[in-house]
């Protein structure tokens, strides 16, 4: 029971920690940790999501917020945008220039990030300045561990290509 409480406390202190990292930091065996996580998920104290070949763990009480962050981080361009914004606020043309993308593509991704509430914007004259509106530590923790599988990278490239072609998100 003590171990389970330790696991829960560690996840609460480090939301978005990966399964592998949690096992490492708490010095727990895989089977042991799997058992405690199963119990914690069943009791509704923790939830986990698989992304890019890693299982990320979050405290249940902030599920909505973290779900949005995972959606935002699920494509390469958005990850890059969020990493750039983690370094300070930027406008659309700065983002487009640093990413080597068209303004239309950046605009599409920014609309999605704004809709998710992960990014906020403010007007400064004629320019729109973007900044992050999420827990930066959690975001960085997820990005550091993120290792997409080869087909996930291809899917991300396909999404970017379709956005360049002019597709607009449906949902």
């Amino acid at each position: 029971m003590d171990t389970r409480r330790k696991v829960l406390e560690h996840i609460k202190k480090n939301p978005g920690i990966s399964f592998r990292k949690l096992a490492e930091e708490l010095n727990l065996g895989i089977g042991d940790l799997q058992y405690h996580l199963y119990k914690l998920e069943k009791s509704g104290e923790v939830f986990s999501r698989k992304m890019g070949g890693r299982r990320y763990l979050f405290p249940k009480d902030m599920e909505g917020e973290y779900q949005k962050m995972l959606i935002a981080l699920s494509t390469e361009t958005r990850r890059k945008i969020m990493l750039l914004l983690a370094g300070g606020e930027k406008n659309q043309s700065e983002l487009a220039e640093e990413l080597g993308l068209t303004q239309a593509t950046v605009n599409h991704h920014m609309k999605e990030l704004l809709k998710l509430g992960i990014v906020k914007s403010r007007k400064e004259g004629r320019r729109v300045i973007y900044s992050l509106n999420c827990d930066v530590d959690t975001m960085m923790r997820i990005v550091r561990e993120y290792r997409p599988k080869i087909w996930e990278r291809w899917a991300e490239q396909l999404v970017d290509m379709l956005v360049e072609l002019g597709g607009v998100k449906d949902a």
Binding site: A155, V159, L162, G167
Partner: protein, 89 residues
């Protein structure tokens, strides 16, 4: 000899189209872009068309019926590609 080579090549084409359909599906799940959905449909139709064509090599389906089926599939595939490019610009 040529017939078995044809069959092997058809299997390779089928595998590639299924892989592309899978990538389109992953892309759609992540982005909800309708274009990705049309691509998924196009690649799946392409895979089905290939199965129909390979079926012809293995059995003795009437040639005319196969030609019509393949032509219908080709129209559907091209329409799906067209929609993937132009839809929701």
């Amino acid at each position: 000899m040529l017939e078995s080579l044809n069959l092997v090549l058809s299997m390779v084409v089928l595998a590639i189209s299924v892989l592309l359909a899978f990538i389109s599906w992953v892309a759609y799940r992540r982005s909800h872009l309708k274009s990705a959905l049309y691509l998924l449909v196009a690649f799946l139709l392409f895979a089905i068309k290939k199965v129909c064509e390979s079926f012809y090599i293995l059995t003795s389906v009437e040639r005319e019926a196969l030609n019509v089926t393949v032509a219908v599939f080709e129209i559907l595939i091209l329409s799906a590609f067209f929609l993937a490019i132009v839809k929701e610009r």
